[in-house]
Amino acid sequence: MDTELILMQLFSGVALGAILVITALGLSIIFGMLGVVNFAHGALFMVGAYAGLWVASLTGSFWWGLLVAPIMIGAFGMIIEFVLVRPLYGRSIDDPLLLTFGLGYVLVEAVRIIFGSDGIPFPTPPQLIGVVDLGVGFFPIYRLFVIGLVILVLLLLWLGLEKTRFGLIVRAGARDPTIMRVLGVDIGKVWLVVFGLGVGLAALGGVLAGPMRSVNPEMGSLVLAEAFVVTVIGGLGSLLGSIVAGLLVGIAISMTALFAPEMATIVMFALMAVVLLIRPQGLFGKLA
């Protein structure tokens, strides 16, 4: 097998992994702050892809879809937190999980009613069609763009969390919400924003994945399992863990697709099982 093919496949693994990173990060941020595992995350990823498609078809431009859909769905996420998840704080940790599962069920069916059950093609924006020669081989421009954008978003997130006052409150609130309340911080508002941010990241993942996967109401179910695998491998609540594990899983999937295509959907679960056996708390997780 020639090296160029392997490099190509490695590269598309990184692009795939980049989308996994952004999606799993959303899940991880929500869990780290609110202690809620969002079982509607896959469905919201799918809703994000549809919203991107819808906005893009209204405005005639992919770029509006990419910008508006995550904000729109992020705002929708805030409504979800405020109306549905908030009444469940203080109850069993299983309750928000059950609720978001039911919500995912409803969202999938709602999209079926509005857009139909069949897949819809998501055209690659004309500026990003084609391949570019990077010296070692030809790479699709769209995938390069996805990797670049994800790096940019990660940088912004890191700056937001580490260098701003709000980021400081978020990090402190994740450690001890009670103390934050005592210090006079309205932690409810922080939860609202963080939930919206996490859901917005899922929606961004959905829009970015649109031109790479087919957009259909069922696309979220594989994504949910993928996001779970990535957060379990990386360690729930660890941002660095999500990044490393997301790339690892993306590369593992695309390399297996090259050498043993029938194992491609199975390999990430096997990877998770191995990590669970050796390090049950995940690569970057702390022991509870």
Binding site: L84, L98, L99, V108, I113, A225, V232, T265, I266, A288
Partner: protein, 330 residues
């Protein structure tokens, strides 16, 4: 061992005695068998009655883990599906007698539960739900790929059981009433087994773990082993339901392995009321009745059922039967 349910003390979740709840708890196995005997004559169709039987058993088996051990698994479709597939493959591709195939299905599903349980019960808290979901999806994709065995996306066909021999007589299994009462014997056996488990010291141990894991550990229980055993037993009963479903439909759709099936089991259990013996069965009945009624109006019945489920999580977390018991106590 004459009817252990009669002599058993009330379990922790049925602590507050009242005449109604005490009677229900003491005679729960005979009472549920009586209800099952009447069921096909109360429901609009016999096929629906068999479905209630199948999913009632799944939900009761699942509740052993969710309601009584306090572990929220999102992967029980794997054991349900494994039971169904193994039975179908044993009959259709190896010509194994149906009763042997049922046993193979139960054993195979139970073995799978032991493996997945061994991996997942090591994880703590919220991880458990995510890992059970992911590992069950692994089983789904394996079944999808192994299409020469499982029929892949088209599902497994070609193992129709038309006649069965039981106690020396030949029974026409295509007749819906015969089918119902044959499968009901399995359901009764499962209910008896679950009731027996809950009344045993082991039943008290799993409830102790649910209430306070650290305290149970301090009291000297081997929490990991107890959880694994509860997981395996729960998987065995779901596998039994899977074999029942395979015999009933003579078809195993790939979707039985999807996590939507696991989610449906969770929904049924919660709708009826986890932590109660009858609750999951009531929930399965309620869910399937809703599906039956709403699917007449719209093909998008899932949006209604999902919304009702959300309302239950928010406002009626004890479910239909649990709330009924609560009111009956007063």
């Amino acid at each position: 061992m004459s009817s252990p349910a009669l002599a058993a003390p009330a379990t922790a979740s049925e602590r507050k005695p009242s005449s109604v709840t005490a009677a229900l708890a003491a005679y729960r196995v005979p009472l549920s068998i009586l209800a099952l005997c009447l069921l096909p004559w109360l429901l609009p169709s016999k096929a629906l009655a068999v479905n209630v039987l199948v999913y009632g058993v799944v939900a009761v088996g699942y509740n052993l883990l969710f309601g009584y051990t306090g572990l929220l698994s999102f992967g029980h479709a794997a054991f349900f599906g494994a039971g169904a597939y193994i039975t179908g493959i044993a009959i259709g591709q190896f010509g194994v007698p149906w009763l042997v195939a049922v046993f193979l299905g139960i054993l195979g599903g139970g073995a799978l539960a032991f493996i997945i349980g061994g991996l997942t019960t090591r994880t703590r808290g919220i991880y458990f739900s995510m890992v059970t979901l992911a590992l069950a999806q692994l089983v789904y994709y394996v079944a999808l790929q192994a299409s020469s065995w499982t029929g892949g996306e088209n599902g497994l066909r070609g193992f129709t059981v038309d006649k069965i021999n039981l106690f020396g007589t030949t029974i026409n299994f295509l007749d819906p009433i015969n089918k119902y009462y044959v499968l009901m014997m399995f359901a009764a056996l499962a209910l008896w087994a679950v009731s027996r488990i809950l009344n045993s010291p082991f039943g008290a141990a799993i409830e102790a773990i649910r209430e306070n894991e650290r305290r149970a550990r301090t009291c000297g229980y081997d929490v990991e082993k107890t959880k694994l055993l509860a997981f395996t037993l729960s998987g065995l009963i779901c596998a039994l339901a899977g074999t029942m479903s395979a015999l009933h439909l003579a078809f195993v759709p790939l979707d039985v392995l999807h996590y939507h099936t696991s989610g449906m089991i969770v929904m049924m259990t919660l709708l009826g009321g986890a932590r109660s013996f009858f609750g999951p069965f009531v929930g399965a009945l309620a869910f399937l009745l809703m599906e039956d009624v709403f699917s007449l109006w719209t093909s998008h019945w899932q949006i209604i059922v999902g919304s009702i489920f959300i309302l239950f999580v928010l406002f009626l977390p004890r479910g239909l039967w649990g709330t009924f018991l609560e009111k009956a106590v007063r």
